[in-house]
Amino acid sequence: MRKIFKVLASLLFLPSLVLADGYPEKKIVYQITFNPGGGSDIRARQQQPMLEADLGVKIPIQYKPGGGGSLGWAELVKKKADGYFMSGINIPHIILQPLARDNAGYETEQIEPVILFQQIPFGITVMADSPFKTLEEMVAYAKENPGAVTIGGSGTWDATHIAHLQFEKMTGAKFTYVPHKGGKPKQTALLGGHTMASWFGVSEWLPYGDKVRNLAVATNEPVETNPDLPTFKSLGYDLLSSVYHGVGVPAGTPADAIARLEQSFTAIANDPEVRARKLKDGILPIAMSGADAKTLIADRKKIWAPIVKEFTQ
């Protein structure tokens, strides 16, 4: 009930939908919800000069880290919905945080996605000398020895955790999920032999080359960087897991402002040089429109809501 009230309240404070012809007329703040120097920051700083050239205004970058991004997104939905404040958004974070916490400070629906410009598919990775040669071997071992296989992830209620819970449900096997303080400590733990397997994104396993072995990736089609790597689907598990990065504005932002921003970001996302650099780092370049992103968010929320409910009660 409180959630409904909040959404209604945010609708009430809609600003005038009439927008001056000349959007944008002044600087547009680009908020990063993670620490300076992190992946989100460096990506935004790459986009910054191109955005400034295309939109003709300054794009200052502001930081509001904390709570796994939630502090920044809470800040975003408090801002005036006039098209002059945008923020980096991450899926699944903006779906899972409001689901899993009593008061994340924002609701998913209060954020209007402008574009999703990149995707990092996730999968299960082991060290090259691991006894598990295939996903099936690992699942079989876990079924015989419930809880004995440790699988690392980047945190709780993030992409790796939700994928893990879905995977356990599908296999019926019991693993020990070990959350870490983000991606890097998770990688270190696998490399040092502290965990037996780990949920890795393509960009995370690529640098380690032959030192690691990937068992499966959770996409519809095989990934470009590892064409021979089986998908979970091809092995009989209907699992899709990716982190998407994009940009959002407060719900209620005038449609033409969103369209203008989307146009600008889409041009950057489709730039051949930007695409090539992302692929080299193991990141899939995409240019998903705000409307498609909304559908994706709604679909994922439907699948995840019951799982989160089951494990938080």
């Binding site: 904390g66 994340a104 959350p179």
Partner: protein, 662 residues
């Protein structure tokens, strides 16, 4: 390797590269020196500028910033008892007492020389033995981090010699504070008391400024109306530089030990300079011949801390350059910069891009010397800062405390937390409690909690948690260190029992009207334990174990404090005089009003008003017209410069206020 180093050195012959390296070092010193700004932030802000540069030039500039910041944080630690970054906490222990004795320049030179020394040792190891040491960094798992954290806590026994109980009480409160916000591993929200903004946890910058800086200002400037910050005047001379460096050169063991400690802590991924300098300081104190000089102002204490945190920097680059694992937060930003220039850490760096990599390593070495030159030359300027009359300096520092605690996360709640910590810090000081163990608790809490929780998970999967946590080489080594460290002072104190008693008596001034510090603290502990217990009932096993452990500790320590307070009452007088009390209360009220005013009137208006009011309040004599005008001009210039720096250069979104929001 030598070919690589030579090729790398060749890059530095290019004047442009050298210029950017020195420029980076100078910028790094500034970032390190301003509380609230960190090496991480400086690096992050400079990374975009390196896009347009040659990779080598860009990386050299970043190298300079990293090395410079490791020294810069010592400057405010020495001069105003405020660590520029958490890595300089241990620098305050002896640096500030030196300033108070009028020996600020000694401390500054010692810091510069030790930073340079530590950095050189670290870089030589980085250049020579990066590969084999990288493997060592992977050995650090959850159990090792847990024991590293526990070992860190045993340092309290060194820090609070004479009163172990007080040290443990404050450290436990620090551990509890570290658990505020979203639990790193279980994702549960804890102890936020209804403020969603606290989900990000307690900001370390706010804690440092609140516990170290604010109590000094409230007490010395506002309460006692001290004329200058440290109460003494400094006249920097060249002779001091020679004397200080000669002194430290006679202590090769101290310098080497400190550097090696820093290096090892740097190699362990995730553990940064914060821990390095604390461990190094306490080891210096343990092994030196005259440990009683530590804490009262000795250049050896400053050197121990600074050599360690500067050696940490190259240490943290070892796993970064070889494996792509950053050993510290700033190293993570350097990783991002490498990737942006298309260089993937690992073998690539030492094979494909070896000349850039070695140029970077040589750059770090050259930056170490730049620090020595800039630091010793700069000591003439910095040292004079504390000669500035307090009416001018105090309002400026107060503005900086607000900006410093705000800037890192752009969160006004962090500033309020800073103010509360400042008041708590003042109360603790008056009750003869040290702030250092508390901040140590905040820093070490996450290592202990995450190490424990992950060990329980992984140990549980392997059959036995206890076996997993203890029967590992590094764990056993750390456990042995913990035992030695915990028992050491106890054994020593038994031997020298009588001497310590005499030493302690100088502040045990009996006063019939004073407060019983231990009993008060004991009751507070029990109350906090109760509040925490009743507000964390719904946590899961993993989310709650650390908090329950802290509650248990608080109960035991609280009862022990009360017992001690009753059996050996140590009465302390809270305020020296009624005037002091009212001055401090007015000072705190002004700060609170200022914070209330910021979101309403905006940063600029609120700060101008605050600066003027504080200047007038601190003025003893009646002011002439010229005096008033000059204060006005001063206020406009100070606020204007700060605003320009934070708003335009650092792009911190300072509040504009409700009236001016367009």
């Amino acid at each position: 390797m030598f070919d690589g180093l030579l090729a790398g050195a060749a890059h530095l012959a290019a004047p442009m590269n050298l210029v950017f390296l020195v420029l980076g070092t100078a910028l790094g010193i500034v970032f390190g020196a301003i509380p609230g700004l960190t090496a991480t932030m400086g690096l992050a802000l400079l990374v975009p500028f390196t896009f347009s540069m040659e990779p080598t030039t860009g990386l050299l500039m970043l190298a300079g910033i990293y090395v410079g910041a490791m020294y810069g944080d010592a400057v405010p630690a020495i001069l105003i008892n405020t660590p520029g970054t958490p890595a300089a906490i241990a620098t305050t222990f002896d640096g500030y007492p030196l300033s108070k004795k009028g020996m600020a320049q000694h401390a500054l030179v010692a810091a510069a020389f030790a930073s340079c020394f530590g950095s050189i040792v670290g870089n030589l190891v980085l250049a020579g033995a990066a590969e084999p040491l990288a493997e060592m960094s992977l050995k650090f798992g959850p159990a090792e981090y847990f024991w590293l954290g526990v070992f860190g806590l045993t340092i309290i026994s060194v820090l609070s010699s004479g009163n172990l109980l007080k040290g443990f009480v404050t450290a436990t409160l620090g551990l509890l504070l570290s658990s505020v916000g979203m639990a790193t591993l279980s994702g549960e929200v804890r102890l936020t008391f209804g403020f969603p903004e606290l989900q990000g946890g307690i900001g370390l910058a706010g804690a440092l400024i609140g516990f170290f800086c604010l109590p000094e200002i409230l007490s010395n400037f506002i309460g006692k109306r001290q004329n200058t910050y440290a109460g003494t005047q400094v006249q920097p001379t060249i002779a001091v530089i020679k004397e200080t460096i000669r002194d430290l050169l006679c202590r090769p063991v101290l310098m080497l030990r400190s550097s090696l400690i820093g290096l090892v802590v740097g190699i362990a991924p995730g553990a940064g300079g914060n821990i390095a300098s604390m461990v190094s300081y306490s080891e210096a104190r343990r092994w030196e011949k005259n440990p009683e000089e530590f804490g009262k102002g000795t250049t050896r204490g400053v050197a121990a801390s600074e050599a360690a945190n500067s050696a940490m920097a190259p240490g943290s680059l070892i796993p970064l350059l070889t494996l792509g694992i950053p050993g510290s937060p700033p190293a993570a930003v350097i990783l991002g910069a490498l990737m942006l220039h298309g260089m993937q850490p690992g073998n690539d760096l030492f094979v494909v891009y070896s000349d850039v990599t070695y140029a970077f390593i040589v750059g770090l070495l050259v930056a170490s010397f730049a620090v020595l030159v800039l630091g010793t030359a700069g000591s003439f300027v910095y040292a004079r800062i504390i000669n500035v009359p307090s009416q001018t300096l105090a309002p400026l520092i107060l503005l900086m405390t607000v900006l410093g605690s705000y800037a890192i996360r752009n969160n006004l709640l962090d500033v309020w937390v800073m103010l509360v910590f400042g008041i708590v810090g003042l109360i603790l000081n008056r009750l003869r409690f040290q702030p250092a163990p508390l901040v140590l608790g905040i820093i070490l809490g996450p290592y202990i909690e995450n190490g424990l929780v992950q060990s329980m998970m992984i140990g549980g999967a392997s059959g036995s948690v206890l076996t997993y946590m203890t029967l590992r080489p590094i764990s056993l080594f750390l456990i042995a260190l913990c035992v030695l460290s915990a028992l050491g002072p106890w054994l020593l104190s038994r031997r020298k029992h009588k001497i310590t008693n005499v030493n302690n008596s100088d502040f045990d001034t009996e006063n019939a009207t004073g407060l019983n510090a231990d009993s008060i603290m004991g009751v507070v502990c029990l109350a906090i334990a109760a509040v925490v217990f009743f507000s964390t009932g719904g946590l899961s096993q993993y989310g709650g174990i650390f908090i329950r452990f802290c509650i248990g500790l608080l109960l035991v320590l609280g009862v022990a404090s009360i017992v001690r307070g009753v059996r050996q009452p140590q009465k302390v007088l809270f305020f020296d005089s009624v005037i002091e009390r009212s001055r401090i209360i007015i000072g705190v009220a002004m700060l609170a009003l200022y914070l209330v005013l910021i979101p309403i009137a905006g940063f600029v208006v609120a700060s101008l008003l605050f600066y003027l009011i504080m200047s007038f309040l601190l003025q003893e004599k009646a002011m002439t017209v010229i005096g008033v005008v000059s204060k006005l001009i001063q206020a406009v210039v100070v606020v204007g410069l700060l605003y320009a720096m934070f708003y335009y250069i650092l792009q911190v979104p300072l509040p504009v206020g409700q009236f001016f929001d367009t």
